[in-house]
């Protein structure tokens, strides 16, 4: 039985059961006396029977889809001809992979006939087990629809049952956020721990040199990887610093101007323009940094007698700063607007000018909120990927010179993982160690910022 015919039968079954249950309830209601009608509206009986088909079948189907590869591989492994497994040097899982890789439509001449035989067996197994699974799911669906149709009576409260299951569904949907967080933490920790089995934790955190090339063949001495993350952290910090020195002044001044000086009309035109800046995809900023800004700084340096590469910290950081401007300006606009009017009025009454009010009253009053905004922006900057991947370079330099190429945590994660499918080398696992460092750092910054901002809100509410 193919998937689509199975699906079709299921849909037809569901719709007809829904229709039949509703009709049955309607007829029952018509027969009953006025005071003793069914406790719920007829359509709820239909919905109830429909749900009773959907829940078991979809969970069984999901279970099957997730479990199928493992079950089939196990059965295949049990049934591999002994000649084959005895002659194969390598892990059994590799043998399974090579059997699965055989395309029965186009068998290469010279493929081991035993492998072809196993592949045919695997294909048949796959087909039969699918048919079997679909068939049993359909039986479950028929049974549960029979059961639900039996249940229609004056004592059964269908609405309560339907609402309860729907609310449970809503609760489950909202726990997806928790499941995702747990998934992130576990996947990062699990792989990072495997990395720290090979590389000591403190060597990673405080090492001064980073060159993740591990030996290609066993016993090679020269290219043992070195995993000291300090140059990467310093590069990230340098770029973040450059980005902030662009974004903070421009963003803050824009926010002050828009909230204190601008007429409503100016505000209405310029706020959306700033938001466009926030909506531009990061890959576009990255392209701009690499094609326009990088060569610009290179030409500038060449003109004044220096020689720098077109990949530099200042190009990546500067463009990242542009990206973060709207972030800072809209957040600080919010906190500046939240400063109570009474403070402004008091200041004007004392004869202060507008700029004096801003500098001496509003900004100090809004400072916690602004700091929160800046912290959020910093966390955004250290997690930003595409701009630095495209414009910052991959060599890990320990330098504070903004005209040199530096690398960041995110760049390293990308370069370590692109194109690599093996998960047994320290090189690929290092990406997860960097990932968890990044996750912890941004989490800390976010929580701190949210705490500061909410404290600040309480003060003026």
């Amino acid at each position: 039985m193919g998937f689509w015919s199975f699906f079709f039968i299921l849909v037809v079954l569901g719709l007809s059961v829904h229709w039949y249950a509703t009709n049955k309830a309607l007829k029952l209601n018509a027969k009953l006396e006025k005071g003793s009608k069914l406790p719920s509206l007829p359509s709820y009986y239909g919905t109830y029977s429909l749900l009773l088909i959907i829940f078991p079948t979809s969970s069984l189907l999901l279970l099957w889809l997730v479990g199928k590869p493992f079950i089939l591989e196990y059965i295949l492994l049990q049934n591999i001809p002994e000649q084959l497994s005895a002659n194969f040097d390598g892990a059994p899982s590799m043998l399974v992979d090579s059997i699965k890789a055989v395309d029965l439509e186009r068998i290469f001449p010279g493929t081991n006939p035993l492998i072809v035989e196993s592949a045919t067996y695997f294909k048949d197994l796959n087909n039969y087990s699918n048919s079997f699974a679909y068939f049993s799911i359909l039986i479950v669906a028929f049974l549960s629809s029979y059961f639900s149709l039996k249940k229609i009576s004056t004592t059964f409260k269908a609405r309560q049952a339907v609402e309860k299951s729907n609310i449970n569904l809503l609760i489950f949907s909202s726990t997806i956020a928790i499941i995702t967080t747990i998934g992130i933490i576990f996947s990062l920790i699990f792989e990072a721990l495997r990395f720290f089995d090979e590389i000591p934790f403190f060597d990673f955190l405080f090492g001064l040199s980073w060159s993740p090339q591990t030996a290609i063949r066993e016993g090679q001495i020269a290219s043992q990887g070195v995993f000291g993350a300090i140059p990467i952290f310093s590069g990230t910090l340098l770029i973040t610093l450059i980005a902030m020195s662009v974004a903070i002044p421009v963003g803050l001044l824009s926010a002050v101007y828009l909230s204190e000086y601008a007429t409503p009309k100016v505000r209405q035109t310029f706020k959306p323009i700033l938001e466009i800046l926030a909506g531009v995809p990061t890959v576009v900023y990255g392209f701009f940094a690499a094609i326009t800004v990088g060569p610009f700084f290179k030409d500038l340096a060449n003109y004044s007698g220096f020689n720098i590469a077109s990949e530099s910290a200042i190009a990546a950081g500067g463009v990242m700063g542009i990206m973060i401007i709207p972030f800072i300006s809209s957040l600080s606009d919010d906190v500046i607007s939240a400063v109570p009017k009474s403070l402004r009025d008091a200041s004007y009454a004392m004869g202060a000018t507008k700029s004096e009010t801003v500098k001496k009253i509003i900004l100090p009053a809004a400072l916690p909120g602004i700091i929160g905004a800046i912290l959020l922006a910093v966390s955004r900057a250290i997690g930003e990927t595409m701009i630095v991947v495209m414009a910052a370079g991959i060599a890990a330099n320990l330098t504070a010179n903004p005209f040199e190429a530096v690398t960041t945590v995110t760049v390293q994660i990308v370069t370590l993982l692109i194109g690599d499918q093996e998960f047994d080398s320290a090189k690929t696992l290092a990406a997860f160690a960097l990932g968890i460092t990044l996750f912890v750092a941004t989490l800390f910054l976010n929580l701190l910022a949210l705490k500061i901002v909410s404290k600040y809100r309480e003060r003026y509410e």
Binding site: I167, I184, L188, P281, F287, V358
Partner: protein, 424 residues
Amino acid sequence: MNNLKKIEYSLKKRKRQESRFKIYGLLGITSAVTFLCIILSSIFMEGKKAFLSTYIKLEVYFDPDIIYTDNDQKEEDIKFANFQKIIKNSLNSFFPEISDKGELRKLSNFISSSEEENLMRLVLENKQLIGQKVTLWLLASSKIDVINKNPDMELIAEEDRLISNLELNWLNEIRSANNIESNFNKNFFVKADSTEPEQAGIWGSLVGSFFTLFVTLILSFPIAVAAGVFLEELAPKNKFTDFIEVNINNLAAVPSIIFGLLGLAIFLNVMHLPRSAPIVGGMVLALMTLPTIIIATRASLKAVPPSIREAAIGLGATKFQTVTHHVLPLSLPGILTGTIIGMSQALGESAPLLMIGMVAFIVDVPGSFLDSSTVLPVQIYLWKSTAARGFVELTAAGVMVLLSFLILMNGLAVYIRQKFEKKW
């Protein structure tokens, strides 16, 4: 009098400070706007060139001796015929003075290699052409295209230029015979990636983006709306719901690349889903888009006035009926707006997709959710990382396509908000 003068003096100073501060603020906002203008215009200046490609007019002689290797004149012969030689000969007949083999090879590089197949198709369709001379416009190769579109590149020193002085002279000769023109670049809109810039197109990655976003939408929209409804309307205020809220707020701020690591570790390594497939990309992006839609859902549910709920409950509706029959339909425009904005963020997102292998070089247009494919922003990244000069323009043009889709989606969001959203 002295004090008054002092005050007058300081007042002048303070007024100067005031206007200076105002100028600083204006400077801040204008510099932000200038940055935006520079970014957009530099991309436009570069990208507009990619919408045209260069064609060269040639008198092509479909030499039967080259097409048919033997006398039986089968169709198979046409399929395997050496059309490169036919193009080379046609070029040679335009420049009869060239006889050196190396120079001839350089000359035949003027025409895109894709034209060999096109000529083959032309002959297959119309076998009468064999033995005839036909005047055709053939697609020029990328380096000729780049030089032709950027006249200032001819001034660069020979060793830094894409083509040598000799080739430049030939190009000028073709030009003076009026045998060259720029025309609409159709390849860009119908093809997928290619190693040759003049044959590469955006369509493959557009389809990939479509499949990916479709998965994202059908996963994230129902889940996020359900979660938003639960948290805003039905949830009791307790530690558990607080914890969910903290999680959602935190997920909204997690760097996107972390979601890529999650997808790599769980969807690919544990669940063994196919690498580079839109279904995995869609799942990862769905997790990223969830917080955006949840927050939008809650905000628009909050905007529905309590009187609606009270009226429904007063008429005997249950809490669940109140929400699904009355509150949710009223807040739908706001939810849709938030969803479209979330989708447009997902469309521009590339970092997590690099992690799950959607960064492969893919020549075919993907046909399903399980095919290897790439997406629009990743295609831009891929083209940017390619060394060939012709890809710079393509990259910028790709950015323009991406931006126009984003403008379209955001415009739609604004339209829905203004047209359907109720002000209470």
